[in-house]
């Protein structure tokens, strides 16, 4: 390859790099997602979460707090953390545990195999 082509290629690489960096700088702020505060309540009607699957986001080390109000009796299973609590029809059950494992996890109504919550724990 002659030096002109090399120079052209390096120039092209530099341009691409600059564009990538520009995109990063522009989106730099969006990398840190807002975390969930307080106790979230998930209302289950007819065995399904009202308003769709609830999204909760925490940083590692924070306290995960949510409550499930359900009109059906089932077992709420917080996967990954492997916490299981029974809920009676018309009753409610509370979860309160430290976010120690990073990743994306789901909570299900175990008997119905119905996902009600997606829990995101950022490092």
């Amino acid at each position: 390859m002659n030096s002109n082509t090399t120079r052209a290629l390096l120039g092209a690489a530099a341009v691409v790099l600059a564009v990538v960096l520009l995109i990063v700088l522009k989106n730099g702020g969006s990398d840190t997602t807002a975390t969930t505060k307080g106790v979230t309540t998930i209302v289950v009607e007819d065995g399904k979460p009202v308003g769709g699957i609830k999204q909760l986001t925490y940083n590692k080390g924070e306290e995960v707090r949510f409550r499930v109000d359900s009109d059906v009796s089932d077992e709420v299973h917080m996967h990954g953390y492997d916490i299981m609590k029974d809920v009676k029809a018309g009753g409610s059950v509370s979860f309160d545990f430290p976010a120690t494992i990073e990743g994306v996890f789901e909570a299900e109504l175990e008997g119905r195999k119905q996902q009600i919550l997606e829990l995101t724990v950022n490092p």
């Binding site: 960096l21 990073e102 990743g103 994306v104 119905q114 490092p123």
Partner: protein, 465 residues
């Protein structure tokens, strides 16, 4: 009507966080710089066209490849497949507590590509269908006094049956399994039935075309795992173990028609699985809703949507490759289009492997803990069996930090990219006598590789987002 698309998670209790934007940008930049750098420092004569296989450890290979040892490997393969099918048929319907799904789709389907790259084609001795085929063939020869006669395998069919089969295997897991509109994956019973049907089909094909012929071109698992086995430096040849130049064997792998389709199918199915909750989520949802509006039932609409997108992935990945090939054909001194198409397919194997590592590394680490504790101790998942005393063990999801997973994912893609470039570059120096034209042809493959690697990085950065 607008429904939220139900997605299947048979096994994964912990999903990966998306790769952060800054890491995505760094990795993409490194990929670009490395690629352009590679073009200017590339070697000028082919170095990988000969694998320079030489035997090693003759004593060891006599023991490892002896007839009784091979009988043991084969029997073990048949036994484990039997356990998986039995567990699937008679065990619990909970996918994560049944031996069948984790053994078939994680330990085998993800484990053998990894071990094949490291150790060579290790599936071959354990292949249960090959073991049965050889035993039956041997018995036939002993009784009839002559070797069984087989049909001539149609040359043009090549590895196409394996490519179609590969898509079918993944389809069963992530499309058929995602049925019913609930968060349940493939049920173990269906997996076991599929394994039985596949066994019957494979043994029939072996009877028709011969055991070794079918393993070479048609048997999905032999072809697929064998493909990854070409990258590593270990291989058995002529009844002995040996070492060879890493990557060199891959240069001859794609000489069978349909080989490109196998590696493209691998990249496409992994892409689909990685994209269905991220990059493709919106498109999948709108297609799904359109189909439901058109009066198709929820389950069928979901399966149809996913099927359409898997096929589109295959066509898309294939198209990117063919554009690269087409471009190379325009460079002075290029060989025929057909030769180019087959001649560069092997350079995609490292990309396919990198995609696998990037998308399934954490699943493999987590699920193998289950495999070697409670699934081995209580294969049926009945809760009453405890063969090894490990039935109550759990999966430690703290084992990998999110950072560790990100670095493995991005590292795999970058290494796969560089390896793919090296294979393509080496082939170009073999096809073009003139180095300058060879380098020019590689602008095209460079573009293909950058497209795949950046797409892979992009998939990781929007996973589950």
């Amino acid at each position: 009507m607008s429904s939220v698309l139900p997605v299947a998670h048979a096994l994964v209790a912990r999903k990966d966080l998306p790769v952060p934007v800054w890491l995505f940008a760094w990795a993409a930049s490194i990929v670009l710089i490395v690629s352009f750098f590679a073009l200017s420092v590339g070697w000028r004569t082919p170095r990988l066209e000969e694998d320079r296989w030489r035997p090693f450890g003759t004593g060891l290979s006599r023991v490892l490849l002896s007839f009784p040892a091979q009988a043991v490997y084969g029997a073990l393969g048949v036994f484990l497949l039997g356990v998986a099918i039995y567990a699937g048929l008679h065990g619990t319907e909970a996918p994560d507590r049944n031996f069948a799904l984790t053994f078939l789709y994680v330990t085998t389907w993800l484990g053998f590509p990894l071990f094949s790259v490291l150790l060579g084609d290790v599936f071959r001795p354990f292949n249960p269908w090959r073991a049965v085929g050889r035993a039956v063939g041997g018995a036939f020869t002993a009784v009839a006094g002559q070797r069984p006669a087989h049909l001539r395998y149609p040359e043009r069919l090549g590895r196409w049956p394996a490519a179609v089969g590969l898509i079918a295997v993944v389809w069963l897991e992530i499309v058929y399994g995602a049925s019913g509109g609930v968060a349940v994956g493939l049920d173990p019973h269906a997996a076991a039935l599929a394994a039985l049907i596949y066994s019957a089909y494979t043994l029939a094909m072996m009877a028709l075309f011969g055991c070794e012929q079918w393993c070479r071109t048609g048997e999905v698992f032999s072809v697929y795992f064998g493909m990854f086995g070409q990258l590593g430096c270990f291989a058995a040849k002529g009844g002995g173990l040996g070492v060879r130049r890493p990557l060199a064997a891959a240069t001859r792998w794609a000489t069978v028609p349909g080989s490109a389709a196998v590696v493209i199918a691998s990249i496409a199915t992994t892409s689909f699985d990685g994209a269905q909750e991220g990059a493709f989520k919106g498109a999948l949802e709108s297609t799904f809703n359109d189909l439901v509006d058109a009066g198709i039932g929820l389950t069928s609409a979901l399966r149809l949507t996913d099927t359409i997108f898997i096929v589109l992935c295959f066509l898309g990945v294939g198209l990117v490759y063919l554009v690269g090939v087409r471009g190379m054909a325009g460079v002075a001194g290029a060989p025929s289009l057909r030769k180019l198409r087959m001649g560069f397919a092997h350079s995609l194997i490292p990309i396919a492997f990198a995609y696998l590592v990037a998308h399934y590394f954490s699943l493999f680490v987590f699920q193998e803990q289950a495999q070697f504790t409670y699934l081995l101790s209580d294969p049926l998942g009945t809760g009453t069996t405890d063969l090894l005393g490990t039935a109550s063990a759990g999966v430690d999801y703290r084992l990998l930090s999110a950072n560790a997973i990100w670095y493995v994912q991005v590292g795999a893609l970058v290494i796969g990219h560089v390896t793919g470039l090296a294979l393509a570059h080496d082939r170009a120096t073999a096809y073009w006598g003139d180095y300058r034209q060879a380098a020019r042809s590689q602008y095209w493959m460079l573009a293909v590789m950058i497209a795949f690697t950046c797409f892979g990085l992009y998939l990781l950065s929007v996973a589950n987002a």
